[in-house]
Symmetry: C2
Subunit: 339 residues, 2 copies
């Protein structure tokens, strides 16, 4: 039907149905019961014929609430981010919110731009997983009473809830497993840590535990796009004389991918040399003899982020102290840590 060149407005429906705007508004605002059956029919008919849909912009403007949640994702091509986003979206939907996702490609400039954008659309809450330090902008938002949740990465100076993996526990589980499997000399590989608190925490805990447990080991931070450098670093570690079997610990899924490539290039046999990655990926079971991982409960993390937002949205008057919600990783033991 609907062949009007422009989207119909409430006024046109009202005219067409021979009723007032108010009645049409009521019809579409869940107050149908207050309208006579006859009027309901007429409105339904006109609205259907005209293809009328309430304009959410106008609604949002009037009501002062956009029903929009914003999400800033540092790297949309990272399966972990997508999985969390999926959880976030489901939760938003379940609570009548829509999600507006912005991918920043780890670019601080895009972060700022997209933040401005989401602000402009008056998102009622923000799930943030960023690289840079848009601390100032976020503080401003928080000050305007826009609830904020930090995902995976904390921003020291921003007062907001944070949800993510229990990194200490993850590292502990990883090291316990590797030691139990007989590996005694470890290399922890991470992307540069400046911009991501979770990376810092994982590396920090790794170093602590080494000292405490008397394990041999070292950590290295590398940009993943430089494959030769990564291969050199790994080769250096593996060539070193030692008394115990060696293993690699990958601080996240991207690292696991890059390291696995490097190990194949170096013709290393998995298992003989241990490999354990944080983040579960589709293919980890497929690369022989299977890559051991620590899986994050991504959907739960996404839901928790939204829950946190909604709680603050529900009680804006008393700003509860900011919390950390940490999740326990799950170990998927596979052949890459079996000697």
């Amino acid at each position: 039907m609907a062949d009007s060149p422009r989207r119909a407005t409430i006024l046109e429906v009202a005219r067409d149905a021979g009723v007032s705007k108010t009645s049409v508004s009521r019809y579409f605002s869940g107050e149908r019961d207050r309208l006579s059956p006859d009027m309901q029919r007429r409105i339904a008919s006109s609205a259907g014929r005209l293809g009328y849909r309430p304009n959410q912009m106008a609604r949002g403007l009037k009501a002062g609430r956009s029903r929009l949640i914003g999400m800033l994702v540092a790297d949309i091509r990272n399966p972990f981010s997508v999985a969390v986003m999926h959880g976030v979206e489901q939760a938003c939907r379940a609570h009548g919110f829509s999600l507006m996702v912005c991918n920043t490609d780890n670019d601080p400039a895009q972060e700022r731009d997209h933040l401005a954008l989401l602000t402009a659309y008056r998102v009622e809450g923000l799930v943030v997983n960023v690289t840079g330090r848009p601390g100032h902008e976020l503080e401003a938002l928080a000050a305007q009473d826009t609830p904020l949740v930090l995902l995976d990465r904390a921003l020291g100076d921003v007062e907001a809830d944070m949800v993510g993996l229990d990194n200490d526990q993850a590292i502990d589980t990883a090291l316990d497993h590797l030691r139990a499997q007989g590996y005694g000399e470890l290399l922890c590989v991470s992307e540069p840590t400046e911009q991501a608190s979770s990376r810092q925490q994982r590396l920090g805990r790794f170093r602590e535990r080494l000292d405490a447990d008397g394990l041999q080991g070292e950590a290295c931070c590398l940009a993943l796009d430089d494959a030769p450098a990564l291969e050199r670093a790994i080769a250096g570690f593996l060539d070193r004389p030692s008394h115990a079997p060696k293993a690699l610990l990958c601080a996240n899924g991207n690292v696991t991918l890059a390291v696995t490539r490097a190990l194949q290039a170096l013709d290393v046999t998995l298992g003989e040399t241990g490999l354990l990655g944080i983040d579960e990926l589709d293919w980890c079971a497929l690369v022989a003899p299977g890559i051991t991982t620590l899986a994050q409960p991504t959907e739960a993390i996404g839901r928790a982020a939204v829950d946190s937002l909604l709680q603050r949205l529900a009680a804006p008057e008393r700003p509860a102290p900011s919390r950390q919600i940490l999740f326990t990783p799950e170990l998927n033991a596979r052949g890459s840590t079996r000697r």
Copy 2:
């Protein structure tokens, strides 16, 4: 700074700066040159102090344009979809649009809901990759002059541009490669085709080519979540006596994943039994001896979708006939098709 409880409005800025709303509006609408330097300074100062940002909802309402492009994605966890989405987002950004993405999880009900949502926000264009047949809804949109692009999957009854892979060419390339590598008996594995035209096309072309080329082969359609059924189907194919080496052709990335799992479960040696997948994935090079793929130019597809939208947006008066924009796949020959 900005510690007002609520977001500042243009009126508050105007008052604070001692000027009129109009001037503030001009300042933020790229008409700064028309304001005296003094006034510019005052407005900048007040706006900064108050943390003012133009309300995009109000702007959209007033201007009748939301600056929003909507995208409906059938399965956000499919890396192919994400890659295309990335291209779409970049292109939108480059042209001053923002992207609102909705994931439908292949659920027609969610498709309908999300479509309504995007409509409610008055998206100015729509990139659609769906499972079901929201043909009616989409037609209505098209009739309202909202430009539409179909991604990967055509909808027979909807008049809109379509962008995707040249499926015929993809199948041809795949079969040529497999035959050149000495495989003579083929199994093409696909997900059920009812809901996705691209699947139908790939399967259709596969059958055509078999007949034309005198190759042996068959096709099977399966829901991927039933691993045992898939294994049975593959085992049945492989057990059959034959004169020529056998190969599997996976109709998309999800299939490649499931089939690779099945082949490992069946302890099949890749290469000896050929394997070629449509869609390139992170891990295809990692699974020994490397899985041969046909890569889609995902970013280009995304950009083309937006281009198509923008063209129609730019010239709404003369509705050009709907086009198909098809892309050529790229062959990544690896060990899985080397005997």
